[in-house]
Amino acid sequence: MSGGEKTEAKTETKYPWSNYTLKLGRGEPVSTTQYVLYAVQIAAIIILSYLSVSLLGPLSYSGISLFYFVYPFFLVFTMWWGIWGIISAYVGCVLGAGLMVGLGVVPSLAYSIADFVPPLVAFMVWRGLLANRGFDPLWRDLTEKEVAGFKTNRVGAWFWFILINGIILNAISAELGIGIQFQLGLVPGSAYWLWWAGWFAGDLLAMVIITPVLVKGLTNLVERQGLVNHGWVT
């Protein structure tokens, strides 16, 4: 056994989530159930994006919401379904928080990059880095003391969750979203930081409240049904 294989074997048995990696997938084509599920979850994110923006007002200003409750949904979906969750974040923003609230095609396509980046980076950080350091890439350690007999580090899980998703990626998302809208002439310069703060706070609040509810209620169910992606695609 070579050195690389030894390390791989060691990490594969170390944690119950070691099969969730940054590989392409399980080495088998997408099944019909998965195929439908990936399409339906994109539809769900489109509707939730639309509701996130329109529930507070009939048509919110420039697709920016003060309580963007779809944010934790696409983060959790990305952790479950890899690239499909990332696609849903982008398409959901283009259609649900863009076109359907009247933002127009070009601004929607441009500012939705702000929703594409956080799930992409979060997926890579958890699956590629933190999973090998004892943190569950499906985020069950946020709410559970044990995952499949493995004692979790809840304080550490919350620390990384807030730092990476809530502060760093959320700030990047707000900067991209408001920055692009500013460049397109949709947000006035003097109101830049006001909208930036609204974006940041709206996403953070939703993420902290809804993610634990979603993870606790559904992750084990999704995993039991064999629907969690082992890699990016399947």
């Binding site: 099944s31 019909t32 159930t33 998965q34 195929y35 439908v36 599920l37 990936y38 399409a39 339906v40 979850q41 994109i42 539809a43 769900a44 489109i46 509707i47 939730l48 509701l51 007002g57 009939p58 048509l59 919110s60 200003y61 309580f67 409750f69 949904f73 398409v91 076109l99 359907m100 609230v101 009247g102 933002l103 127009g104 095609v105 070009v106 601004p107 397109l184 002439g185 949709l186 006035p188 310069g189 003097s190 109101a191 609040l205 939703a206 409240i209 809804i210 509810v213 979603l214 209620g217 559904l218 169910l221 999704v222 049904q225 629907l227």
Partner: protein, 353 residues
Amino acid sequence: MEKPKEEARASKKYVCTFIFSMRTGTPIEKLHVITKFLMIAAMSVLALYMFDIPVSKGGPDIIGLVLLLVLVFGLLIISRTAKHLVSSYLILALPVLFGEFFWWLFFNGSLPGAKIVFYLWPGFLPIGISTLVFVGVFSLVYYKLRSIGWSLVAGLLLWWFTIMPSSLSFSSATTWARIPIGVTYSFSLPQWSTTVALSKALGYGVLIYTSFLFLLTTRDVEIAGALRQLRLSFRKSFFVALMFRNLNTILLDYQDIKIAQTARAANVIRKSIFSKIIDLAQTSIPLVATMIRRSTETGVALYARGFEASKRVTDFKETKRLSYVDFTILAILAAFLIYEVILGHSITALFTR
């Protein structure tokens, strides 16, 4: 093969679109979905460009934006979907447009030029156009909502907007009588502020109504059919169709869950914002669980119908060919884009020269 498809499409009087429905046989319905997409994309590029022309280069193209807005409403009328817009988003979009106007009026202080005075209160109660605005808005909102509170808020807000500019509150043409009350409170803004703010509101109006033009006149299967025409595999185009077909179902699921929450007395006690957010979070579990269950069932149904084994599939009957009308529209849009964006001409400049 083209004729039966045309007949199948013509056999229906109304077809379901992304939002509401559309009458078949209208010129907009006959357009190819790619043309419609490029049309609204070109319009949004034009709107973004027109309202962002710097003051040093002559300022926003207000007349161009008005023409674009008229064009969008014209297309909505031609497509016979204007009634859906009137009954839904036309009025709902107005607060957004007013919001846009005021954000740009007050948060755009870096504009050059002389300053003009606006009145928070002109020192008298003007009787004139502003009074008519108040009565009109109050009556309209009360007729629609049957709420005195909201009617008063909307009426007073718009009334206040009409007394703010000195050209309206101090002109004898718009103010017919004055009842002195209190002292004057005023502030000044750069002269260009109102022009820029108006152009932003008009431009945003173009963006909103072009988006709705697309959503009101496009069917999900048209997109799937167009993807097939673009030589995408059936699996990929059906994936897109599946996604769009589930939008309505998921919205209905969400509404059912909210009704179930209400039936379980979720709204009986007046709750804090935080509790309402928790309620919202609680809808996520049944929503996602239903989504997974439905996906599994649909997956099994597709499998049972030989989805994985099928080699030859029937094309979507809604697939159309690009006609000369499509090409003409695309050519006009391209010419308009070249004139305005590439060559840098302004329609307003044509009238003000």
